[in-house]
């Protein structure tokens, strides 16, 4: 019993090491670099000091991180929803499709993050603007991938539905919409990290509240522990969002195929 437990612990360790050696190496290199070069703590905090600030001031991180997480998640969901609605609308008419799809492609090939200052000026500096920015940035992948998915029907299935005399509505709900689901999940996974990034950048530029603002004020006051702590919280939130989207994609694909 104990040997098998030991073996399973050993194999878990080996698997963990084989997967995370890259991340570990980067963290170790950071610690080693700080220790060896002996840079000033104001310039570069030690990981342990960052951890201390995180543990001793939890409320600052929880309120600001919570705000950013809620804005990013809500914006992501709303943007996906809007993108899907517009993709479905475009699917109903060939004219609308021909007009909207190239525009969607153009917008996804430009740096949409650069639109944040324009949107901030247009909509005013407040929380609703941060949300709107995340919605708009999540909209484009949702629209592009959903409209591609609505057209990627399994070969022959469309003819079958026509031969069996299915109505347009039946065809939409039983064939077209389900076949778009895998693409929709790809869009969700692709849009998750940018939604956290754009929420934070909007907060950073407008200086309102949230993680982006926390980072900005910490950096300008030379509170480097706080700045790096903000980075840690932002990374955790972003990795959580990405992992959740990835898990959702895998689960849906398993059920769908």
């Amino acid at each position: 019993m104990s040997t098998s437990a030991k073996r399973s612990f050993g194999s878990t360790l080996r698997i963990g090491l084989s997967r995370y050696w890259g991340v570990l190496a980067v963290l170790l290199a950071w610690q080693a670099w700080v220790s060896i070069s002996g840079v000033n703590a104001i310039v570069m905090p030690q990981p342990i000091n960052v951890l201390t600030d995180l543990v001793t001031n939890p409320m600052v991180y929880i309120t600001n991180g919570g705000q950013t997480l809620i804005l990013a998640a809500l914006g992501l969901v709303l943007g996906m929803f809007l993108g899907t609605i517009v993709a479905v609308l475009a699917w109903t008419s060939r004219l609308l499709n021909g007009i909207l799809v190239p525009l969607g492609l153009i917008f996804s090939s430009v740096p949409v993050v650069a639109l944040i200052p324009v949107l901030a000026r247009l909509l005013g500096y407040d929380l609703k603007t941060v949300l709107a920015i995340v919605v708009i940035i999540s909209f484009f992948p949702a629209f592009v991938f959903t409209s591609a998915g609505l057209k990627a029907l399994p070969p022959g299935s469309d003819d079958l539905f026509k031969v069996l005399g299915a109505s347009r509505l039946t065809r939409f709900f039983h064939l077209v919409l389900p076949s778009a689901v895998p693409n929709w999940m790809i869009a969700l996974r692709l849009a998750a990290p940018p939604s956290v990034l754009s929420a934070m950048v909007a907060e950073f530029l407008m200086g309102s509240s949230g993680l982006g603002y926390l980072f900005r004020s910490a950096a300008s006051d030379f509170q480097t522990e706080r700045a790096f702590g903000t980075s840690v919280v932002a990374t955790v939130i972003s990795v959580l969002c990405f992992t959740a989207a990835l898990g959702a994609e895998r689960r849906v694909n398993n059920r769908w195929k």
Partner: protein, 252 residues
């Protein structure tokens, strides 16, 4: 004949869509439907091409585009080399996959303090662009290198070719289409990286123009800077699409 008709139709509709978008921009701006912060397209264009501002825009473009280009080249190099390394030494793959995934999931703003400490402020944009491009190229190249078929690999093995020959003669040509698609999708990622980097305290570039114009309510300047960055990204993306079409015709 029918296919070309369909193609023609989609081109016409696409052009109509772009024209509609541009005229909507103009109409909203002229009638102030979205307030004073939405200038008409014509105002932005006149502002942008005014000879007195040529020097300002050219300087900003030179600064930003050199960061975009350097980050794009460096990210491509590192991404392709790392993908090649894990292809030759597969033991390394899970760890580097995770590392690339974590780097991708970390919002660039969270890395900004690190870059500010480690690098010159002017180079932050290049560093973020490099990371963004690295991720796209690493994923594209690793998936592309898996494209060569088992039969072909066996053939190379039987004929006694070295792993290096196999990589250069078989796996790399098979990976080329995926890599070129990666190069295409890395273009907006490189621009985003460079602009973000300039927002974290650079003293020049289009990103700096955007932020200072936003804070000082210089609306036409703000829109011009965004317009220039978007147009440049779009042009580069279009050029890579052409290359992609050529490579797919040749290698896929």
């Amino acid at each position: 004949m029918r296919i070309s008709m369909e193609k023609l139709q989609s081109i016409v509709l696409g052009a109509v869509g772009i024209l509609l978008f541009l005229s909507l921009w103009e109409v909203i701006g002229v009638n102030r439907l979205a307030g004073l912060t939405w200038p008409p397209l014509s105002t932005v264009l006149v502002f942008m091409f005014d000879p007195s501002r040529q020097a300002l825009f050219l300087r900003a473009m030179a600064a930003s585009f050199s960061m975009v280009a350097a980050g794009y080249a460096l990210g491509t190099l590192i991404g392709v080399l790392t993908a090649g390394l894990v292809h030759v030494v597969p033991v390394l793959r899970p760890g580097l996959d995770r590392l690339a995934g974590v780097i991708h999931a970390i919002p660039a703003i969270a890395l900004a303090p690190l870059f500010i400490v480690l690098l010159d402020r002017e180079l932050t944009g290049m560093a973020i662009a490099t990371l963004n491009v690295f991720f796209v190229l690493y994923v594209a190249t690793t998936s592309g290198l898996a494209n060569s078929t088992v039969t072909h690999r066996d053939l190379f093995q039987v004929l006694g070719s070295s792993p290096l020959t196999r990589l250069l003669r078989l796996d790399l040509p098979a990976a080329l289409p995926a890599m070129v698609s990666g190069l295409k999708f890395a273009i907006p990622a490189a621009f985003i990286g460079a602009i973000l980097g300039e927002w974290f305290g650079s003293s020049r570039g289009l990103g700096l123009l955007m932020v200072s114009a936003m804070q000082n309510f210089q609306i036409p300047l703000l829109w011009s800077a965004v317009f220039i960055a978007s147009a440049a990204s779009l042009l580069a993306f279009g050029a890579m699409s052409l290359l992609e079409r050529f490579v797919y015709g040749r290698y896929a």
